[in-house]
Amino acid sequence: MFRIIILFGFTYLFLHLHLTGDISKYINMKYSYLSFTMIFVLGFLTVYQIIKWNNEGNHKHEHHHDIDCGHDHSKDENTWYKKVVVYGLLLFPLVTGTFLPIATLDSNVVKAKGFHFAEIDNDKDQYANHQILRPNTSLYYGSDEYRKMLASDLKKYSAKNNLYLDDDNFLRALETIYNYPGNFSNKQVSIEGFVYHGDSLKKNQLFLFRFGIIHCIADAGVFGMMVDFPQNVSYNDDEWIRAEGTLSTIYYQPFKQTIPYLKVTKWQKVDKPKNPYAYRKY
């Protein structure tokens, strides 16, 4: 009985997420076929369990059935308190998943989860992570294929004089910029992201970030760029901005290295995009 409810609940949860499109707020849609298939598999198991339950109702030999079949698990839920724990535990995600609003990862997560971020604000740490802003740079330049891939990306993104970062090219194009900042210098770049303040930034500087998702929210990391405004600005963390300007490089003390940044000429506050995350497509 409880099993039917739980199986149905999971079927419903997957169905609900796919119908409303909310699934993209949990996982990279590249893998959505897996959870989509689950609607049917779990749906089938629900129906199967209903039929089984009905049949069992007609034969009252359940204890016998357990021993005879060596059902290793069917007796796990044999006492009422075990039932409460087991089924309660499984019902919990169904309830919270269905009824609680979906949170969006924001600067709070960057701070809490942000193993990449403590180092930004920490001048003394010479092992500061240089990776945060730079998706997928390689220390292993030995590979010819990697070079080839970079070269083709480079051609694609640096061919024109202006580069507009959108949902699709965000991660790849950003990676190319970080690999070859020289090829992009003085080019027009337009980037959108949420505001994050690092400690050692000036009043007219801030970071624009987006979370990049590989598989699911649990493995999300943050990617973006430093932007430099012609005047002091007072945006709060998590406000979304689209900024456009010329790309240049700057020596950034906390990283002890030169990083690309955007000398902003035009910018505007924008609404949080319908899909705040950037997904890894390859």
Partner: protein, 311 residues
Amino acid sequence: MISQSFLQLNTIFISILIEAIPFVVIGVFISAFIQMFISENMLSRIIPKNRYASVVMGTCMGALFPACECGIVPITERLVKKRVPLHSAIAFMLAGPIINPVVIFATYVAFGNSWQMVIYRCGLAIVVSIFVGIMVSFIFKEDQLKKFIDQKLKKYRDHHDYYGHHHDHDHHHEHSKPTILAKIKGTFDHAIDEFFSVGKYLVFGAFIASTLQTYVKTSTLLTFGDTKVMAILVMIVLAFIMSLCSEADAFVASSFRGTFGPSALTAFLVFGAMVDIKNLIMMLSTFKKRFVVTLIFLITLSVFVGALFIG
């Protein structure tokens, strides 16, 4: 009101579940299929008697199953119940999540289409699973499944000395070969049973993992990793806490390349795919506590020592 951080915790929690459930369902179906269709005799004919050969065999079998670390626990449990030697099954469990095409491809792509990390990762995984398998074969003589499972299994074996069983809900004790239909039906029954059995541990593990992700400042952990030894240890702890799927962890590892060398990253990639919070809790549900503790100790030791030789 529910706090924003709890909502974020919940979002991470649900997302881990959505990501893991398909793989767990595949795992329980494979396990149920083995239960119903593959006999102990068939398995014992395939698996060598020699302990070294059978550990190697287990590692190779792991390469055939595209299972991740949570899907593979029920399969391993099933193999042990089918009288596959424990050390062979453990080698299978450790190699499975790493030595498979999907994970190898993900690792290759994540590290900028380079084979170097793939070779490190697979190499260390093979070494660890063989080493741990052999150690297990010397330390543990019995199957180390939890007692209550043992007892049930015993009852079950007393009843049936032939392989498998059929679900005769009509309770005619016909000790004839079950029909295909009955076997298929039995496969579904077992899959559902196991889904519930494994599911509760998955939910529990996913919840702990998402809590740690939300509330523990992993960033402070990283500041300890300034020597090679410490870097490896930090990455092992991080892999455990993050509880990433072995198909996604390579991308996360690649984002640490600026901070850590290949040795620490390899440790992260190998350890995380073998042990993490969610599959630890699943293992504890299956195996005896002493065994799981010993197993994790052996894995940690061999991953650590192995990683020291890299880079």
